[in-house]
Amino acid sequence: MLSYGPVSGHSGPFFEDLTVGQEFISPGRTVTEADIVIFAGLSGDYNVLHTDAEHMKSSIFGERIAHGLLGLSIEQGLASRGEPAAAHGVLSGLKWKFKGPIKIGDTVHVRSRIAAKKDGPDAARGLVTVERELVNQRGEVVQEGETEHVVERRPA
């Protein structure tokens, strides 16, 4: 059978390959009106903040803004493109702050840093804490927090 990579099992990086202090920068992504519409449809969250352009003209934001959890979902996807804890671990916890709006047309990327490593739920896995910032095109941090991931240890 022709194979372009491992067809089964986990090929790393493993818990041992991650170092506290390692930093990663993701590619950017432009958040569009379509992202917001699809997220409203999927989540069922039709708050006027995200869906009523006329109402939002008179708000402090002046226009519709992305759902906070849409920003976080995009953040998680961006982080998985390069940050090994996100790409190869299972998300087990989050502490997260929404600091500023994401508007239609904003381009965001993720800065992340491995902050801590500790023993996991069993001998085969460890816990990795990552500090992350979601940054817009003006360099403003619009979301930030810590994510915790369960990452497999290298098999003995």
């Binding site: 069922g44 969250d45 039709y46 959890l69 998680q76 998985s80 502490k95 997260w96």
Partner: protein
């Protein structure tokens, strides 16, 4: 003034502390997983029946609109802490149970801290945490 759709909301003054609110359920399907993977751009899990951890949390925000109480007049979602306690699989039906544990008045509105659990069809809590929301005051009549 008659109540229009825009005024039927749960404002800061209306939020009751420690009253549990239980939503209807929603069955997780492969369609949910595919749409969500399209939004995040995250490579899907090897097992197509694995539900990404953030998806039930995102769905719980919409489930919160389907309760007898009018929707909360949220001005901003300020932050949250969350634990992913057990896997969620395609075919599972989840609902959310929440209650306000604290409310604190501020100049622009009020801060409400909500405890929320996502529970599956076997009654197991699969995700849980605390959310901090800025909620509008009732506008002067």
């Amino acid at each position: 003034m008659s109540e229009t759709a825009a005024t039927v909301q749960c404002f800061f003054e209306d939020v009751e502390v420690n009253v549990p609110l239980e939503t209807p359920g929603i069955t997780l399907t492969r369609a949910h997983v595919a749409l969500f993977s399209g939004i995040t751009g995250e490579a899907g899990p090897e097992d197509p029946n694995t539900v990404p951890g953030l998806l039930p949390l995102c769905l719980s925000s919409g489930l919160g609109w389907r309760v007898p109480r009018p929707p909360l007049a949220v001005l901003a979602f300020m932050g949250f802490e969350w634990r992913f306690l057990a896997p969620v699989r395609v075919g599972d039906t989840v609902h959310s149970v929440s209650r306000t544990i604290t409310k604190r008045s501020m100049r622009e509105g009020g801060v409400v801290i909500e405890e929320r659990s996502i529970v599956n069809q076997r009654g197991e809590t699969v995700q849980a945490g605390k959310l901090t929301l800025l909620v509008a005051r009732r506008p002067a009549a």
